[in-house]
């Protein structure tokens, strides 16, 4: 791995700094570590320097926020408005959006109508896929001893099987 400061030399030192709930990992070459005051000659860290670096964000420059490749919305944009920019945002930010969706609706599985474009595939596949997904969620809920949620999944499975019969 290259040094994160100069980008030329091989990194020789890893510094992990924990301040509050923030953890920062820095990979530096010997020269840069010395230059930035990470090593004060005898191999110990200069905490004063670290702290001031942290505050001035010299060391901890946050990486640019991930944006939706389709519409350019970032997670902050979505948080601010409570709304997404395009259909692809639901995939881009799935890890953060889906728990939110589940919270609003009490579930994350659509059971209503589908457009004809989707129905070209045998409808059996969709039901089967949904059932498998629900079964996995049910198993996970039982493993977590979240029986209330498990009951919800169980009822959804029953409804699906009943509806398909």
């Amino acid at each position: 791995m290259k040094c994160q400061h100069c980008g030329n030399n091989e990194a020789e030192y890893q510094y992990t700094i924990v301040i509050g709930d923030k953890q920062i990992d820095r990979y530096l070459c010997a020269d840069c570590a010395k230059q930035l005051g990470y090593e004060n000659g005898n191999g110990t860290l200069s905490f004063d320097q670290l702290f001031s670096d942290f505050l001035s964000a010299k060391v901890y420059a946050p990486t640019p926020e991930a944006a939706c490749p389709r519409c350019g919305d970032t997670w902050s944009d979505i948080q601010k408005s409570g709304k997404v920019g395009c259909a692809a945002c639901y995939q881009t930010f799935a890890d953060r959006l889906l728990p939110f969706v589940q919270k609003i609706h009490g579930t994350g599985i659509h059971v209503g109508r589908a457009p004809r474009q989707e129905q070209r595939d045998p409808s059996q596949t969709q039901t089967e896929a949904l059932l498998a997904q629900l079964q996995a969620q049910l198993d996970a809920a039982v493993a977590e001893q979240n029986y209330e949620q498990a009951a919800v999944y169980r009822d959804e499975i029953r409804a699906l099987m009943g509806g398909g019969a």
Partner: protein, 346 residues
């Protein structure tokens, strides 16, 4: 003929039923992130699939005309304030309105007179099938129809009723109703949606949850909830009529007296008095005016509708005066019925 010019099932209490489907096309970002060219393209897609519909473009429309559309529940305030090419497509009977370029590409709305959410859903789904032929919809097997706001995911369906609840309002029961409806996944709001006061004791009740439930189940739950509110309001009306007959007569007939003679009617007062008159007609304390006429008054006395109407008849006047002039002849019909020897009430 608009939904409010007809009388439907349970029309004494349920003014109208409404169903709305939120839909987006797969190949375009949502309206907030679209260029004007893309918005225009989506308008063309809608135009192509809605033959026989009247297209009203929001661009260049007079603000009062746009307001009149909102007052008649054919467009939303959000559509008015959104930018770029956008519009609303109206069916010949004005019961179907498809907003293009609001929060989502398409908002398919069907309004029916009275308590008829099943019929409204059926019609909305037929229009939906017409529109989906234009281009593929944004749809995910797990999340259903994809919408700009996660609260509309899944079915994209909002089903609701507009109810006239003067007795529950007087009882102070609306707050409790709000709480219990919330628990059932329903929301109750004023006449013109979120954040508007309940003018004329008119309320809109609709579902909040759209995902993990079928369209039919949403409508069936709405029917249950509405049925129970309907029973409570009917019960209160009957009790009130038998326990305080003079009080009820006084309230309804006094309102007619005012409406039949007033020359200036501010909006709030007019809505309040018309609510009492509507109640009187529903419980048989008044006669001579149909529920449909009464409903038309409640909608068309709103400012945008009045101005639009005034422009058509070339009578530019004070709004309160225009409102009074519109209401007076109708209230006078109820007055005439009261003054006849065979009074409708004891």
């Amino acid at each position: 003929m608009s939904f409010y010019e007809q009388t439907g099932p349970q029309g004494e209490i349920v003014v109208s039923s409404r169903v709305r489907l939120a839909r987006n096309f797969q190949d375009h970002p949502f309206p907030g992130r679209m260029t004007n060219e893309e918005k225009q393209a989506v308008l063309h897609l809608a135009e192509k699939s809605l033959p026989g519909y009247t297209c009203l473009s929001m661009n260049g429309m007079r603000p009062t005309e746009a307001s009149a559309l909102v007052e008649r529940h054919l467009a939303s305030r959000e559509l008015l304030s959104a930018g770029g090419p956008r519009g609303v497509f109206l069916s010949e009977d004005e019961c179907v309105s498809v907003m293009v370029g609001e929060e989502d590409h398409l908002r398919i709305q069907v309004l029916c007179a009275g308590f008829a959410p099943d019929a409204a859903l059926k019609r909305a789904q037929a229009v939906d099938r017409m529109l989906e032929q234009a281009a593929p919809y944004a749809f995910d097997r797990k999340l259903g129809y994809l919408t700009k706001c996660p609260t509309n995911l899944g079915t994209g369906l909002r089903a609701g009723v507009m109810m006239h609840l003067p007795m529950l309002t007087e009882r102070g029961a609306i707050r409790d109703l709000t709480a219990s409806l919330n628990k059932l996944g329903f929301i109750i709001r004023g006449l013109y949606g979120e954040g508007t006061a309940a003018q004329g004791d008119l309320y809109q009740i609709s579902n909040q949850v759209t995902l993990g439930i079928t369209e039919e189940e949403i409508v069936s739950r709405l029917k249950q909830v509405t049925g129970s509110i309907l029973a409570q309001e009917t019960d209160l009306r009957q009790k009130y009529k038998s326990v305080f007959p003079a009080k009820l007569l006084d309230r309804c007939q006094r309102a007619v007296g005012l409406l039949a003679t007033a020359r200036l009617l501010p909006q709030q007062e007019a809505m309040q008095l018309c609510s009492r008159m509507r109640l009187g007609l529903a419980v048989g304390c008044l006669a001579g005016v149909s529920m449909a006429e009464m409903n038309r008054l409640l909608f068309e006395m709103q400012p945008g509708c009045l101005v639009t109407r005034g422009r058509q008849t070339q009578t530019y006047r004070n709004l309160d005066q225009m409102r009074a002039d519109m209401v007076r002849p109708i209230a006078q019909k109820a007055m005439a019925a009261l003054l006849q020897p065979s009074e409708p009430s004891e």
